[in-house]
């Protein structure tokens, strides 16, 4: 579908010197009509230099904010520059720009406010480790219990948001591990959340932001945040 809608792809980048150039080049090759914005979260490797050398479109955060604050910065930028759809895509090569339109389309057609690229609908491509899948199942069940929203791939960072959703995220976005919390917050605020099947790859290089060492902390922190969010955000009907 060729559209004239303004689409912005946010690519968070923290120490991704091994992948970032490949990711951006592939995106530009496959989706030429789409704007992109790399958000360099104070990388300590050569990421910033690479972005500059290649003349990419990027934001350079002066201090490290973590994935939540960094992505939110992208949402602030998208909201103030009037983008119709804002897509979040990891900079490590896990997310394939070939599936970009799959998740953008439901938002463009105004069927959803946030569309999440899910690898668990068709079970194709990289399915991550068994323990992670257990964790994702658990969080998915928890989100379903807390707000009645069925999302399978709750930790997927490949997601498209419409104007109103982008505006909302530019004001409220979780700090540490924001993906599951964003789903709950969006759903409680009355936005329509859904999934579209995509194929993901194993990360091409570098290290994931969630190491196995941190995963216990991750689960506890996210579970607690979800419960607190449920208690603090009043259910509203954003769109009736």
């Amino acid at each position: 579908m060729q559209t004239k809608a303004k689409i912005l792809v946010l690519i968070p980048c923290y120490n991704e010197e091994a992948n970032i150039v490949k990711t951006v080049e592939r995106l530009r090759e496959l989706c030429p009509g789409v704007d992109y914005l790399v958000i360099n979260d104070c990388s300590t490797d050569r990421s910033a230099a690479l972005l500059k050398e290649n003349g990419y479109n990027y934001l350079d955060l002066p201090v490290n904010l973590g994935i939540g604050g960094g992505i939110q910065c992208g949402y602030v930028y998208a909201a103030s520059n009037g983008y119709d759809v804002t897509v979040q895509m990891d900079g490590d090569g896990q997310h394939d720009p070939a599936y970009l339109m799959q998740i953008v389309e439901p938002v463009l057609k105004d069927e959803l406010d946030m569309c999440i690229g899910s690898r668990f609908i068709r079970h194709e491509g990289f399915q991550t480790s068994f323990m992670r899948r257990v964790g994702i199942r658990f969080l998915s069940a928890m989100i379903f219990l807390l707000c009645g929203q069925r999302v399978l791939d709750v930790t997927s960072g490949f997601r498209a948001t419409g104007r109103a959703m982008t505006e909302y995220f530019s004001k409220h976005y979780a700090a540490d591990y924001p993906e599951p919390e964003a789903i709950l917050a969006a759903s409680l605020a009355g936005f329509r959340v859904g999934e579209a099947p995509v194929v993901m790859h194993e990360r091409q290089g570098g290290v994931s932001s969630i190491s196995s060492f941190k995963s216990a902390y991750y689960m506890i922190k996210v579970s607690l945040s979800l419960i607190i969010d449920r208690l603090s955000i009043k259910k509203t009907h954003h769109r009736s």
Binding site: I39, Y58, L59, D60, L61, P62, V63, L65, G69, Q72, C73, V76, Y77, S80, A175
Partner: protein, 129 residues
């Protein structure tokens, strides 16, 4: 409460008050954050000067030793101060996050403006025709 202990308490409360005032005077602490500390030192001072207050409170709360009541109240106060600090830190973190984001977006705009400026300059300098 022994007279000696009373004297030490008065001294301690006064020193705390003086420290707070000095910090305020030199602008090392804002009035907003000094209020809790000032309350703490004033309450301590009242306890030290009029131990009768402590005895009444002890009877009210059923604590055996009046000194324990003072310790407990002080501990509660310190907890309150710590909580208020956690709140202040969280607010500061949120503010600094917002500033960082605004700064990054501005930096991008400046970078792009500089590029355009450079271009127009070069075009202006190049010989025409």
């Amino acid at each position: 409460m022994s007279v000696k202990f009373q004297a030490f308490m008065i001294l301690g409360a006064l020193v705390l008050l003086i420290i707070i005032f000095v910090l305020l005077k030199h602008g090392k602490m804002t009035v907003k954050y000094s209020l809790l500390w000032m309350c703490l030192s004033l309450v301590l001072l009242v306890f030290a000067i009029f131990p009768y207050v402590v005895y009444v409170l002890r009877d009210l709360m059923g604590v055996e030793m009046p000194v324990n009541l003072v310790f407990m109240l002080m501990f509660c106060f310190v907890l309150l101060v710590l909580l208020s600090l956690s709140i202040a830190i969280s607010q500061l973190a949120e503010k600094s996050k917002r500033l960082t984001q605004a700064n990054a977006i501005l930096e991008k705009r400046v970078r792009e403006l500089e590029k355009v400026l450079q271009k127009t300059k070069e075009e202006g300098n190049s010989p025409r025709g």
